[in-house]
Amino acid sequence: MARLLIDEEACTGCGACVEECPFGALEMKGDMVMVNEKCTFCGACIDVCPVEALSLEKEAKEAEGIDISEYKDVWVFIEHKGEKIANVSLELLGEGKKLANALGCKLCGMLMGDGVDHCAQEAIKYGADMVYLTESPVLNEYRTDSYAAGAVLLIKKYKPDIVIFGATTQGRDFAGTVATTIYTGLTADCTGLDIDSETKLLKQTRPAFGGNIMATILCQKRRPQMATVRPKVFAMPERDDSRTGEIVREQLPMSEDQVRTKILDFSQVAETVNLVDAEIIVSGGRGLGGPENFAVIRELANVLGGAVGASRAAVDAGWMPYEHQVGQTGRTVRPKIYIACGISGAIQHQAGMKTSDIIVAINKDPEAPIFKIATYGIVADLFQAVPMLIQEFKKRLGK
């Protein structure tokens, strides 16, 4: 079992580590620092200690018969809805290419479905050197059982070094199952992926505590190294129609009655653009004062071709359905432009939107926390400012 060791001789009781600890696991007892049971052995304290009094004792992990050298290539899970590949999968092909180049290996698509050769070809045009495809009628639509079985079959047979998934509801549902079955590491919602130039390990960086801290995570002893990445974190690569590549096919020996979940029905959301894919989001909060006033938010969103979001306050008041909630207990979004109208910007709201490229805040309270993270702020009554903004854009866009 791991332990954080404190060299009592060396410790000067300066307290630098107490401040650094993200988990509140270090406390001063007299002029000595003590570690409590909240310690997660993250090692954040070790680097800040000016006298090197802290160290981590780790028991050597048994390799358990895994020969890491057998694992090669970077795989991207190709999520699709029959016709079209999800944008996040294309973005990951772009990023996966960089990882494959750094490792000097191939970039491969991992595809599950029934009659989805066009998706395989599309993945190749967006950068995959080859595509591993599991085909079966039970893979016609996404269900955890059949997709996980298909992926586990491919991963066990072809042994990829790295597999990355979009952090969509499907990707998160799926990747967690695959990683548990294979017994390998999975890092959620990475915002940075890099290859360590010395060890060739995948450095996976992700936010935690609502984006207040960042952590870099490794999976040293098990393979594949798996990560999920949210939509829009990485740029969309260029499509190249001249690219060709091999498709490796596997059949899934699974019958429909072995799939324990069934999809009975699906209904599209009422608003045309979904928040996660939207490039532009216009959100309203408590400052709207009532449900009828969301009309002005909708109109601005319409003019800009964006989606409508809402703060928790607006959703809890019943002004907007929960599907529109942005924030910690709602959706996490990452549009190019996020326009917050009448939203004060509590930390929970920020957790869901602060990685947006451009944040605009329109609020009459100059002290509202939203202005601290806004790219552009306007201190004004939204009922004056937003209609003017609508007119301005209508004029510019000729609408």
């Binding site: 600890c21 967690g176 996976q204 870099t216 999976c219 930390i347 929970q348 702020g377 903004l389 866009l397």
Partner: protein
Amino acid sequence: MKIVVCIKQVPDTTDVRIDPETRTLVREGVESITNPFDEYAVEEALLIKEKYGGEVHVITMGPPQAIEVLKNALAVGADHVYLLSDKAFAGSDTWATAYTLAHAVEKIGHVDLVICGKQAIDGDTAQVGPGVATQLSIPQLTYVSKVREANLENKRIVVERMLEDGKEIAESSLPALITVVKDINEPRLPSLLGIKKAAKAEIPTLTASDLAVDKSKCGLEGSPTEVVRVFTPEPRGDGEVLKGELNETIPLLAEKLMEAKVIK
């Protein structure tokens, strides 16, 4: 219907702030709370019990002070609660956490339904629910916004799932695991009697040997991933508040937004 709810104690991120000088997390006065999504999970278990009969067991893995969240669960009406606590569990990643929680579900035995919140607000991974289902070899239905039916006679559960682009109606056989989103219910407040009962309750602790786990698969040792570096993110560059009358600032704002080349 025998239901197990997995809950987690998390720091209340409302209180989490960054010290502007040192750019580190300020932990002083940060309260620990039940992960908000887990409150919906507990409430849903209570609603299902009220409708179909049965018992609600609530488990959490954590240090001894995590019994606070179990007391809250008792106060709102959970029948049994258990703390999973052992030095061997410390430093668990999502794989090792799911492994340990699944052993506790097995120890409780003959469970029909496991309910988790969709994710915890400190780690935000949403991986433990699917991990527990996989460890238990039971089907999972994630992001559930409504339980339409949970029928023990034909061993069937029908739910609504909240996906990015709409609502899916799905069913699975029981036993199963579901993870729930906020919209599913309105958690009740504890009754005075409940609070009194919870305050007096002796909360059983289950250790690694009680759960008969393989210690090499628990805690830091059993975790495939390890955190090698923790740092505070670069703050967003200082924003710009556009000053002046609206008839000047609005065209200026529009101009700046047009420059991003996403408005067409």
